[in-house]
C-alpha cells in the first residue's frame, strides 16, 4: 500500500494540481467585482482546508498515542503537524496577499486572522517542543498533550467568522459560488489533498526511521521483548 501510494501519488497529485490551477487561472471567469484577483481562491482556500485536515490528523494521533503508545502513531503525529504547518503557512500568506487588493490591508487583527495566527504559533511551538525534548517517550507524551490542547483552535478558526464580527467573510458554499469557479476549487482541493497524503507519507517514514534509530541506541531504556526497539509502555 505504502509503496503503491508512493509511486502513483506524485503523478496524480501533480496532474490534479496542474489541471485545477490551469482551469482556475485560465479557464474560469474572473469575479464580477474582484476581477482576476479572485483566482487566489484556488490556492488559498484548499491550503487552509488541508491544513485543518492535517492538524486534525495530528489531534487524532495525539489521542491515540496516549491511549495506546506506538512509535508509528507518534511518527504520524509529527508528520501531520509539520505538513499542516506548511499548508497553514501558505494559506495565511496567500490570505494576506489577497487581502491587500480586496480589503485594502495585508493584515488586521480580526477574529479569523487572529485565530489563524495563533494556530501557526501553536504548531511552531509543537514542532519546537519535539525538537528540544531528547527522550523519545517523554517527547511523544508531552507533544501529544500539546497536540490535543492546540487542536482547540481548529474549530475556533472554522467558526470564528460565524461567532464574531470579522473582516473575513463567512464560508462560501456552492450556492454563493458560480459553478465555473466551484470546479477548479474542487480539483485544486483534491490536488492539495493528494500532496498532503504524499508529504505526510514521506515525512512519516523519516520520523519513524528516526524513532527506531533513537530507541535502538545502547543508552536507551532496557528492553524486555524480542524487538530491539521496545521501551516500557511503548508497543
Amino acid at each position: 500500500m505504502g509503496k503503491f501510494l508512493r509511486m502513483a501519488l506524485p503523478p496524480i497529485a501533480l496532474g490534479l494540481l496542474v489541471t485545477g490551477h490551469y482551469i482556475g487561472l485560465a479557464v474560469a471567469p474572473p469575479d464580477r467585482e474582484m476581477g482576476d484577483v479572485q483566482r487566489i481562491m484556488y490556492a488559498h482556500v484548499p491550503a487552509v482546508w488541508i491544513a485543518l485536515m492535517a492538524l486534525t490528523i495530528n489531534f487524532i494521533c495525539s489521542v491515540v498515542y496516549l491511549f495506546k503508545p506506538s512509535w508509528k502513531t507518534d511518527s504520524l503525529a509529527e508528520a501531520s503537524a509539520e505538513v499542516g504547518l506548511l499548508f497553514g503557512t501558505v494559506g495565511v500568506l496567500l490570505g494576506a496577499i489577497w487581502g491587500r487588493p480586496t480589503w485594502g490591508v495585508y493584515w488586521t487583527w480580526d477574529p479569523r486572522l487572529t485565530t489563524a495566527a495563533i494556530l501557526l504559533v501553536s504548531y511552531m511551538g509543537y514542532m519546537a517542543l519535539r525538537r528540544f525534548v531528547e527522550d523519545p517517550e517523554k517527547r511523544a507524551v508531552w507533544s501529544a498533550v500539546v497536540g490535543i490542547i492546540a487542536a482547540v483552535d481548529l474549530p475556533i478558526i472554522w467558526y470564528s467568522v460565524k461567532w464574531w464580527r470579522s473582516l473575513h467573510q463567512v464560508q462560501s458554499s456552492p450556492k454563493t459560488v458560480d459553478p465555473e469557479m466551484v470546479l477548479p476549487l474542487r480539483i485544486s482541493a483534491f490536488a492539495f489533498l493528494a500532496f498532503m497524503i504524499l508529504f505526510i507519507l514521506h515525512r512519516y517514514r523519516i520520523a519513524l526511521h528516526e524513532r527506531q534509530a533513537e530507541v535502538a541506541l545502547p543508552d536507551a531504556l532496557p528492553t524486555d521483548g524480542p524487538q530491539a526497539n521496545r521501551t516500557p509502555g511503548v508497543v
Partner: protein
C-alpha cells in the same frame, strides 16, 4: 444605453474616480500567490528528499 453608462464609468475611472467597486488588474498578486504555493510544495518535496532515511537502502518496513 449600457454602453453609454460604461463610457461614463470609464471616464470616471480614468479621472481617478473612486467608488467603482471593481478591482482592475492585480495579476501581480495572483502570480505571487501561486509562486508561493508552488515554491512551497517544491521546497518541501526537496527537504523531504534531503532528509530521506539513508542507512537502510530498502527503507523501514511498514
Amino acid at each position: 444605453m449600457s454602453a453609454l453608462m460604461t463610457l461614463t464609468v470609464l471616464a470616471q475611472a480614468a479621472a481617478g474616480e473612486v467608488g467603482s467597486g471593481r478591482i482592475q488588474g492585480g495579476w501581480g498578486y495572483v502570480w505571487v500567490s501561486y509562486g508561493i504555493t508552488w515554491g512551497a510544495f517544491a521546497l518541501y518535496s526537496l527537504s523531504l528528499w534531503l532528509r530521506r532515511p539513508k542507512n537502510s537502502p530498502a527503507g523501514p518496513k511498514e
